[in-house]
Assembly symmetry: C2
Homo-oligomer: 234 residues x 2
Amino acid sequence: MTGPARFDVVAFDADDTLWRSEDSFHAAEQRFVELLGPHAPEGVDVAAALSAIERANLSISGYGVKAFTLSMIEAAISISGARVPASVIDELLTIGREMLTEHVHLLPHVPEVLAEVGRHHRLVLITKGDLVHQTRKITTSGLEHHFDHVEVVLEKDPDTYQRIVDHLDVAADRFCMVGNSVRSDVLPVLEIGGHAVHVPYHLTWAVEHVEHHDADFAELASIADVPRWLAGAA
Amino acid sequence: MTGPARFDVVAFDADDTLWRSEDSFHAAEQRFVELLGPHAPEGVDVAAALSAIERANLSISGYGVKAFTLSMIEAAISISGARVPASVIDELLTIGREMLTEHVHLLPHVPEVLAEVGRHHRLVLITKGDLVHQTRKITTSGLEHHFDHVEVVLEKDPDTYQRIVDHLDVAADRFCMVGNSVRSDVLPVLEIGGHAVHVPYHLTWAVEHVEHHDADFAELASIADVPRWLAGAA
């Protein structure tokens, strides 16, 4: 780093930016399809039915493993015409419990990157989802000490980001968000006049897909490239 | 109000302090007992089994309706030896969905009390539970505009309250919490040097029961008495 830092605050998303998350949902969906296959009528797309129920429940149940587990159970009952045995529902509960308690798998380079970026910036963690599960992941990740402030939010929209920059007392133009979701980590931050870096993950949840946008922002292949990018942005 | 206010910030709990909550859980438990009765072995205490599973899941699932619904389903499978029909599980999902979407029933006098107390103090809302459900209740309650700040927290312990008073930049001695739970709204606030007023509700969740304490704090019969108490405390 040669000049003064371009940003005062660098904020990181957590799921699929600092640690794996979507892999577990993906594995759970595959397990759901296997479990429900024998109980579904011919020709029913089990995965699509689960996905539709998940989406329909979002506004009531929000994001996270508990909401997902309830959607799996609802889909199992619906797909089977209420003929699914309790033993299958019990397996769905077990899948949910395992997701809530599994170890956090950090993505490569994350601790070093946070240490490096934290040397020149205030670091903030902004994650969407279930309060108890996100908090458990943060406290067991070994990363919490890097962050000056942690926010678990309901939805990552422009209002949420505006509230956070106000709370942090930082100008939007001095705030940079790093995350894997164009929809949640990039576009709403640009909308309030902030900056964002997109670090894609190999899996993206359907709900996070953005079809079209004409925003212009940095996209990096790996979180390991973030310190160099920040130095260049200075 | 004659003299200067004794407190800078008055914080309110939400569930069973500003609006009814425990009534719904109580009704759901009764419905659970009726639904499971026919599927439980002779002599099994269905309500006690549910309560034990709820408690066992607290550290993983946290507080709130989604966690409670998952515990009902787990208890139904366990009590019935996995013989409960999917139609009963479906009814449990419906109970949970109704709890998540039911209208907020404000307790008597709440809007006037908040308006009155807000004239002389900064008002804060501190509630424990599920982020999406608590947020929905706050935004649909018609009370949100009274509050300068809202916190949905995982656990109401001394660390949480300390973090909040630090964030609000208020001395603990100038902070007063109003709520229905001695365990969550009173004792941890006294522990950090703050003040608290207990306004009991006619139902208390078993987990919130406190057997013994020797703390000395105000207990008011109704939230309607809070403005007068605050004026007297000045």
